[in-house]
């Protein structure tokens, strides 16, 4: 546990010093969503209809955008190799990195989402399910993405490969995240969708750090 806390503290410290990274992720999220009213036209009804999907897809892409750096900078300067040689299980190290990734990208996305929902004319009753779904979904995105980020270590053009690896795995989160919001807007309960999202998160919590650690071991060998 001490190792987990130390790594989270160190990486948060690094993220704060480097500053702009998580700000840029949020900026990308906002700009990507803002493009849609320009692209499909400003009719409120059409925007309201596509709002949940647009916000989710933009959140997915911005979460993925910052994944490449999850292990890459540590890999390049030799820190990752050294982290694997500390008396801390590599699974814990990966979990700590994922936690920091979520705190610096997932959490700011959740904070920015209501603003974009207003912009996209999302019906009022959709706000709460959108936020709950994002709260359950974005940690799952960070967890799943960690496997991809570890697999691309050492490869050139890693960024594109990463999106090919990770985006298909994001589809379940996208489907249930969007349909949770749509259900409430359509007058139904979002409980089943939110339960499935929780299930995805609970399954990803032990499996992804384990798979990610195996991929990191492969990468640094």
């Amino acid at each position: 546990m001490n190792g987990f806390i130390q790594i989270v503290r160190h990486d948060l410290h690094l993220a704060l010093r480097q500053g702009m990274d998580s700000l840029m992720v949020v900026a990308f999220f906002v700009i990507a969503v803002v493009l849609f009213p320009f692209g499909v036209g400003p009719e409120p009804n059409i925007l309201a209809r596509i709002a949940p999907g647009v916000i989710w897809v933009a959140a997915l892409l911005s979460s993925m955008l910052s994944l490449e750096r999850l292990f890459q900078t540590d890999y390049d300067d030799g820190s990752l190799e050294l982290l694997a040689l500390q008396p801390v299980a590599l699974e814990i190290t990966v979990m700590a990195k994922v936690t920091v990734h979520w705190l610096t990208t997932g959490l700011p996305l959740i904070v920015a989402a209501p603003l974009l929902a207003v912009l996209m004319n999302l019906p009022d009753e959709g706000f709460v399910p959108l936020l709950i779904a994002l709260t359950l979904g974005t940690p799952a995105l960070s967890l799943i993405g960690a496997i991809g980020a570890a697999l691309i270590l050492g490869s050139r053009r890693g960024g594109i490969l990463l999106s090919l690896l990770v985006l298909p795995l994001y589809i379940p989160v996208l489907i249930f995240g969007v349909s949770a919001v749509d259900a409430v807007i359509g007058g139904f309960s979002a409980k089943p969708q939110l339960l499935i999202l929780s299930g995805l998160l609970v399954a990803a919590l032990p499996l992804c750090p384990w798979a990610g650690a195996a991929a990191v071991r492969q990468g640094i060998e």
Binding site: N2, G3, Q6, I7, H10, H13, L14, R17, Q18, D74, D77, G78, S79, E81, L82, A84, L85, Q86, P87, V88, A89, I220, E221
Partner: protein, 216 residues
């Protein structure tokens, strides 16, 4: 009495055999120097010893127990210095060292770092951000990392790289002090700088045997 041994090691890397049937044994206070030309497997052997990769055959043991049995326990007792010096450019020297030391020590981290910095003669760099350090200074920070948190076994891959004469001397002092306290050192080195009483493993001989040109 701790005992670090390797028996009948075979290392296979990049579709070729690097060495076969390699043995070594190291007791408390001992030093092992790996010699051989470039590409003869010095770094590969050190990485096997650290547990970063696994030998194709043979076992590396600590007190008769294979190190692959419990990697975390093995990590606790060794320090590894590779080719890279992981110093984060945006953190100061002390902040860099505090992270690595706090993963191994539960208390007294700051005092240990101060002592290690003065041991390596870089106390004046304590508050300098990593991005302003030269290659030799980064190497010294990396060496301060292993001095700060005690571990029995030091695995040093070309530790003298980029160091000036004064720094080489303080490194040699640190190694001697470590061995006096019962520690072990395995290091690869081109330079003559090696403890006089060290055992030597010559990896060049494998290359001659394995890669002899077929006679016409």
């Amino acid at each position: 009495m701790p005992h670090f041994t390797g028996t009948d090691l075979v290392c296979f890397r990049g579709e070729r055999t690097v060495f076969t049937g390699l043995d070594f044994a190291l007791a408390a206070g001992g030093a092992l120097v790996l010699r051989g030309p470039n590409g003869s497997g010095k770094s590969s052997l050190l990485r096997l010893m650290a547990g970063l990769s696994q030998p194709l055959a043979g076992t590396i043991s600590w007190d008769q127990e294979a190190i692959s049995e419990d990697p975390e326990v093995h990590n606790q007792r060794h320090h590894y210095i590779g080719h890279a010096d992981p110093v984060k450019p945006v953190l100061t020297v002390t902040e860099n060292l505090r992270f690595w030391t706090s993963l191994r020590l539960s208390g007294g981290v700051d005092d240990a770092i101060k002592a290690a910095l003065s041991r390596l003669g870089i106390s004046h760099l304590a508050d300098v951000p990593g991005r302003f350090l030269s290659a030799g200074q980064k190497r010294r920070v990396n060496l301060a990392r292993i001095v700060a948190a005690p571990a029995t076994l030091w695995l040093l891959d070309e530790p003298h790289t980029a160091l000036d004469q004064a720094a080489m001397n303080s490194l040699d002092d640190a190694i001697a002090g470590h061995r006096d306290g019962g520690g072990m050192v395995v290091m690869s080195s081109h330079a003559q700088a090696a403890p006089d009483d060290a055992q030597t493993v010559d990896l060049g001989r494998f290359q001659e045997r394995l890669f002899k040109e077929p006679e016409a």
